[in-house]
């Protein structure tokens, strides 16, 4: 087991030894760094291929279909066929588009997505760089795609694209606030912003148990940041066709697609790291645990996508500002208060868990109450309108 656990680190140490036999120390370090970075980028691409295939299979199975099954056994080469198609497809730039901005958007969108993997702890001792401000780094890099979406939507000179871009910006900036506050709760509990430190702080209890409210808020905000159902109204096919990347084709479209799935893995990885104890937990090798948890989180997201209808834009923005922001702020101070009063241990975790569940139940009850009232009001208004139109005797 121990051998399996350090498998990748052992390979890296062995390879470094090999290099040291004929290279000066600085060249060894440089080569190792470059190889590590290339490995992380390749991991990103493999992840995209694997999860597009998985997504299509899962959605198909939920809808009682078979999904891709032509390219190779069980259709496993479907993603590779798609990649080849993307690479050899003609690239159309609309005549009316702002050419340079149109070209810049797909380039800028992929860079922060690729950079994010630097701080993701993939296993014990397996992290690109253990940055002491990793959480802020993730938030900062996560902010850049918002800009590129506006760039793409504006440059396309297409009304669907522009509408999609506006919706995206409104949605992403709204859900960034509860997401950042949920992250803040975790940082407060762990006492560090380093992703490795946060994983190590969850040795006894995963933070999903310590503060379920932050977990739920982060999960919902993560779905919104990824533009996935039920928050996918910026690329709602039935309303604005494809949103901000409607005019993109070929490799430029592939850049947006890559960034989307790389971010999917990143958000699932951050949920795993921040709330599900990352690579910790016994018996299996650390990197395998990480992968299992990430795949489970992504499966949950795909399940949600296959199950739920889409929000309307007013509902979506209202949910962010009127439900998630107050909830996450209350939770932050609840956690801060309990953390000040009680010492770390079973009692504190129990108190936090129970009070968080109570907070969540209260929030859901209030939301249900508001929804019921709103529905009653709408029904009364509708009946009044019918009465006005047909006269009082007709129902």
């Amino acid at each position: 087991m121990q051998v399996l656990d350090d498998l990748w680190i052992r390979i890296a140490v062995w390879f470094r030894g090999l290099l040291e036999s004929f290279l000066p120390p600085w060249a060894v370090q440089l080569t190792m760094d470059v190889l590590g970075i290339l490995l992380l980028i390749v991991l990103g691409i493999v992840v995209v291929l694997a999860f597009t295939y998985m997504e299509r299979k899962v959605i198909a199975r939920v809808g009682d279909r078979i999904g891709p099954n032509r390219a190779g056994p069980f259709g496993i080469f479907q993603a590779i066929a798609d990649a080849i198609k993307m690479l050899t497809k003609e690239d159309v730039t609309p005549t009316n588009a702002d050419r340079w901005l149109f070209l810049a958007a797909p380039i800028v969108v992929i860079i922060p997505a690729v950079l994010l993997y630097a701080v993701l702890p993939l296993g014990r001792g397996m992290v690109g760089v253990d940055l002491n401000i990793a959480v802020v780094f993730v938030v900062a890099m996560g902010g850049i795609p918002i800009l590129t979406m506006l760039m793409a939507g504006w440059a396309s000179n297409n009304k669907y694209a522009l509408l999609g871009a506006f919706r995206t910006v409104a949605q992403l900036i709204s859900y960034e606030v509860p997401m950042v506050v949920a992250l803040l709760t975790v940082v407060l509990l762990a006492g560090t912003m380093s992703t490795v430190g946060i994983v190590e702080a969850q040795a006894s209890f995963p933070f999903a148990l310590v503060t379920p409210v932050a977990f739920v808020v982060y999960m919902l905000a993560g779905l919104a940041e990824l533009n996935r159902t039920p928050f996918d109204l910026l690329e709602a096919d039935s309303e604005i066709v494809a949103g901000y990347f409607i005019e993109y084709s070929g490799m430029k479209f592939a850049m947006f697609f890559l960034a989307e799935y790389i971010n999917l893995f990143m958000v699932a990885g951050m949920i795993t790291t921040l709330f599900l104890a990352g690579w910790q937990w016994p018996i299996l090798p650390s990197w395998l645990w990480f992968l299992i948890k990430v795949v489970l989180v992504i499966f949950l997201m795909m399940w949600i996508r296959a199950t739920f209808p889409r929000f309307r834009i007013d509902q979506m923005l209202g949910f962010a500002w009127k439900a998630l922001v107050p909830l996450s702020l209350i939770n932050l101070f609840l956690v801060a208060l309990v953390a000040k009063v009680l010492e770390p241990g079973w009692v504190r975790t129990g108190v936090l868990f129970v009070s968080n569940l109570a907070l969540l139940a209260g929030a859901i009850a209030i939301m249900a109450q508001v929804a019921r009232k709103r529905e009653e009001r709408a029904r009364a208004a509708g009946e009044a309108a019918i009465k006005r139109y047909y006269g009082s005797e007709v129902r």
């Binding site: 992929i110 522009l162 803040l184 923005l317 500002w321 107050p326």
Partner: protein
């Protein structure tokens, strides 16, 4: 510490190179046969009516304003959260007052209808 940012800088360089390589390879492989109809704006087969770069809804601007307030707030709260275990009860009260003022701002925006989609 310096090594960390050196690594990130190297990573940034390679990350910037990545889309150029990908788009460059696609440029060499793909067919190039532009046509006026092909590169017209996609609008479900119709010609675009009127100007696309129009004035946009002011509502988006209000959300952006509220967002800026809260995002700056959370940046100030991160150091507080990291050092929280070493700070006294006073830190909690201070943060409560700080967030309280901002929540009052949110409540004001809410009450004024800035968060209602029209």
């Amino acid at each position: 510490m310096q090594d960390n940012y050196g690594f990130l800088g190297l990573y940034l360089l390679i990350a910037i190179a990545f889309p150029f390589v990908a788009l460059g390879v696609a440029y060499l492989l793909r067919p190039k046969r532009p046509a006026p109809v092909k590169s017209s704006t996609y609008e479900c087969g119709l010609e675009t009516i009127g100007e696309t770069w129009v004035q946009f809804k002011a509502q988006y601007y209000l959300y952006a304003l509220v967002f800026v307030v809260f995002d700056v707030e959370t940046v100030f709260l991160y150091p507080w959260a990291v050092a929280y275990n070493r700070l006294g009860l006073f830190a909690l009260v201070e943060a409560l007052i700080f967030v309280g003022i901002l929540v009052a701002g949110l409540a004001y925006a809410w009450r004024k209808g800035a968060l209602r989609w029209m």
